[in-house]
Symmetry: C2
Subunit: 343 residues, 2 copies
């Protein structure tokens, strides 16, 4: 925010105490008769007002990059508070972590279903139903029952692989320091914002101080002109000196503020790019592991097909004549036919 001031004197506020930046025109010397607002500072961050200032190009055009879209704080719809745009990016990361956890849970549930199915098939395969069927038909039936156990094995293998190749990775992906790292970024950015806010307060104080010094100088100058008081030129010089000082202090505060804002800006760009990459990696990693899931599904159906082959083969060999031969050999009572009775 620009204000009007005019001073040649120093001021007392110690907050922006620093040597004057060389070559800069003391704000005290400048009086701006028209005050046009071209910028606005919200929560300590300074933005150009709409239509003011040079047009901004996106840092990374066509990429919808995080570093281009999260400069403004987000208002909490219910409370009156705001959070930084960075917070939105952070929450996105935490949500991603939650998603992988829930996906792991889903896979776990699938594993339980497969284990139950396998257990039931295995149990039924041990059934003695129609165990008395003999011969080639009996063999085919026996294999049919056994094939249920083979199917059970296929599904058990599926569930084991689901666990080791999908569920477990989903549970352990970024289980190490991920949240800690996020916290670090969070705190670091928050600290930079705090410093920025504090520096802005300094700027406002310096502006206020300068305005007071200006006012004081004006008043004393007017008084001198109308010979109202017994103030000497000495008093005016002092007032002027204080005014100048206040102007220098303001410039220093503004510099410090701009430095802090630059620092925060850089950190925002850098860190949001880190989060952007983390999100790309997360999506690709999950894609890869969900593909592992579909691969296992394909495999499982294929292996399952294989369990039917031996049954088909034995059914092919079913031979009623062979079975009759086997059964008759085991159960015949006598092949000698009756003959007529003689006299």
């Amino acid at each position: 925010m620009e204000g009007s001031f005019d001073t040649e004197e120093s001021f007392d506020d110690p907050s922006c105490l620093a040597p004057q930046p060389p070559g800069s025109v003391s704000p005290a010397r400048r009086r701006v008769h028209e005050v046009k607002e071209t910028k606005t500072t919200i929560n300590g961050v300074t933005f150009p007002l709409p239509g003011e200032g040079p047009e901004q190009q996106l840092l990374k055009p066509n990429e919808w990059s995080y570093c281009d879209y999260f400069w403004t704080d987000k208002k909490d719809p219910q409370g009156g508070t705001s959070v930084g745009g960075f917070e939105v990016l952070l929450q996105k990361q935490l949500k991603g972590k939650q998603m992988q956890k829930e996906m792991a849970e889903f896979v776990h549930e699938r594993i339980k279903i497969e284990e139950e199915y396998a257990k039931n098939l295995s149990k039924l395969s041990l059934s003695t139903l129609a165990a008395q069927e003999e011969g080639t038909l009996g063999e085919a039936w026996t294999q049919l029952k056994k094939s249920l156990h083979d199917e059970a094995e296929v599904h058990l293998k599926f569930s084991n692989k689901l666990h080791s190749e999908v569920e477990k990775p989903l549970l352990t992906f970024r289980a190490d320091n991920f949240k800690k790292d996020l916290k670090k970024y969070d705190h670091h950015i928050a600290d930079l914002r705090k410093q920025l806010a504090s520096r802005y307060i300094g700027v406002e104080k310096a502006r206020k101080a300068l305005a007071e010094r200006q006012k004081d100088l004006d008043v004393k100058t007017q008084q001198l002109e109308i010979k109202l008081s017994n103030k000497t030129e000495e008093d005016i010089k002092k007032a002027r000196r204080k005014s100048t000082q206040a102007g220098d202090d303001l410039m220093r505060c503004i510099d410090l503020y701009n430095q802090a804002q630059s620092k925060w800006f850089e950190e925002m760009v850098t860190t949001s790019m880190v989060l952007e990459k983390l999100e790309v990696d997360r999506i690709e990693w999950i894609q890869q592991h969900l593909r592992q899931y579909t691969t296992l599904r394909h495999e499982t159906d294929m292996f399952n097909q294989g369990t039917v082959e031996p049954v088909d083969q034995l059914l092919q060999k079913v031979d009623p004549a062979k079975d009759r031969e086997l059964w008759v050999q085991d159960n015949k009572t006598g092949h000698v036919r009756p003959v007529d009775l003689d006299i």
Copy 2:
């Protein structure tokens, strides 16, 4: 059994009362001085003794046909009773009926397992786990969850077809009059055996009566020779006539017996062939329906493979850049970058 007799007279036993078969030599006239046993009658059925009589060729060589191997009664190992060879064939049929019932039960159990599996998959597919995942990854995840419901449908279809194409037919195959028909065969054959047994008793009685007549004739002839009694030639003629009659009666009884045995024999051959065909049909019918089971299994695995395709397709389309664009558009807080504060 052959015995010795010699008669020209009739006899009194009415059991084999019938006109004399023409042209046959009355057994009364023949005396065989050597009695060689070449046949034996067991439970009313007459067999050649081992090594006696012409060699028997199987009625259906190389076929292990029922009609060739169940002539002898089967002794009950525990009691002293016997059952006809036909009974063994009958029990085989009843066992076959039991086998199809047990197979149906097995299939029913499989159906229940499939329904449980389908129910579990369907329920899990409705899970809201990771429902907050958005963009292309969210779409792939949503389809992955949905695919469980598709799998459930496949397994439900499998279980329904198992029921209509395998279980139900197994339950209803020959459910109509099969057992009644078996009973009819059983009773018919049993009746013929009873008649045969009764006719054999008649033969034994006739033999006994003939022997008595022979003995009486011999005694009277001897007495005449030694002029021991006042018996006239008239008495001897009477005794001789009775002897002849007894011989004729025996011949008739033997004929009736042989007719009954022939009838039973024919019925045995015919009915055992019916049962043989029933068993061939049963085996082929079950083979066909178990093949239906394996066909359904093949189909099911194939359809199941199909449920993974849409998931693969959506996983293929997962695009972190696209997802970032969508998310940033929805969640951005502001794209205007901060600027330096001026004086």
